[in-house]
Amino acid sequence: MHKQLEDYLTEVGRQLSSLPKPRFDDELNEMRQHILSAVIANQELGQSEETAVANAIEKFGTPEEVVTNVLWAWRRHLWQVNKKLFSKMAGIWSLFYVFTLLTSAHTPSQQGRVFLFWASTITVFALFMLVPHYFRMRTQSPLPSSL
C-alpha cells in the first residue's frame, strides 16, 4: 500500500520541487494524510488494500491535476505578496521621480534638463507599468479548470 502511495507522492513531489521547502513539506504531508484517510474509509467499505489505495488516489486527482492546483495557489500567494511590496515601492519611486525633476530643474544646461526629465519620466513609467505586469504574468494564471 505504501509503495503505491509513495510512488504517487514522489511523482507529485518531483513536479513541485520548485516550491520552498516549508511549503513543499506542508503540501505533501497534507496530501499524504488525506489519501491515507480515504484509504482507511475505503477499506472500511470492504475494499482490498490495493483497490482502496488506487481508488483514493484516483479520487484525489492525477499528479498533473494536483500540481496544477498547488502551483495556482502558490502563484496567487506570490502575487498578493508582490502587490503589497509594489505598493510600498510605488511611494519610493514617486519620491525618486520628484527628486529627479527638481534636480533637472536646477541643471544649468538645457540639454541636461531635458535629458534628466525624460530619463526620469521614462524610468518611473517603466517601473510602474512593466514591473506589475511582469509579476502579474508570472504569478497569475487562469483558475485550474477543475477548481
Binding site: N29, H34, S37, A41, K59, G61, V66, S145, S146, L147
Partner: protein
C-alpha cells in the same frame, strides 16, 4: 443525478462546512459528499487550492494537530472574517438558487403556452 461542482462554488461550500465545526481537508470533502447525498463530485486536489486561497485571504486558519495514532493532521477553523464571509456567500448562493428556480419555472410556463417570435402569425 451527479454533477461536477461549479467553479467558484467550492470556497463558499468550504466556508459553510467550517461554520459548523473545524475540520481537516478529508473531513471537509466527506462532509460535502454527505450533505449532497453523493450528488456533488469534485476532484479532491481542488479542495486544497481553495483552502490555501481562503487561508491567504484570512478567512480560515490551518493548524497542525498531533494525533493519537499516526502523523499530525492539519485542521482548519473559520476566523471572524471567515464567519461573516460564510454568511454572505451562503446567502448569495441561496439567492442565486432562488433566481434559477424562478427562471426555470417561467421557462416551463412558456413551454406550455407557446406564443411570441417564431410562431406563424395568421392574417
Amino acid at each position: 443525478m451527479r454533477r461536477e461542482l461549479v467553479k467558484g462554488d467550492l470556497p463558499a461550500l468550504v466556508l459553510g462546512v467550517l461554520s459548523i465545526r473545524p475540520l481537516h481537508g478529508y473531513g471537509i470533502a466527506r462532509e460535502v459528499k454527505l450533505l449532497s447525498d453523493n450528488a456533488l463530485v469534485m476532484k479532491e486536489a481542488t479542495l486544497y487550492s481553495a483552502l490555501r486561497a481562503l487561508e491567504q485571504d484570512g478567512l480560515i486558519v490551518g493548524e497542525w494537530h498531533p494525533q493519537e495514532k499516526g502523523a499530525d493532521r492539519k485542521v482548519y477553523t473559520l476566523t471572524e472574517a471567515g464567519a461573516n464571509e460564510a454568511r454572505k456567500r451562503t446567502q448569495e448562493l441561496k439567492d442565486y438558487a432562488a433566481l434559477l428556480r424562478k427562471i426555470l419555472e417561467k421557462l416551463d410556463a412558456g413551454k406550455s403556452e407557446p406564443k411570441g417570435i417564431g410562431h406563424a402569425q395568421t392574417t
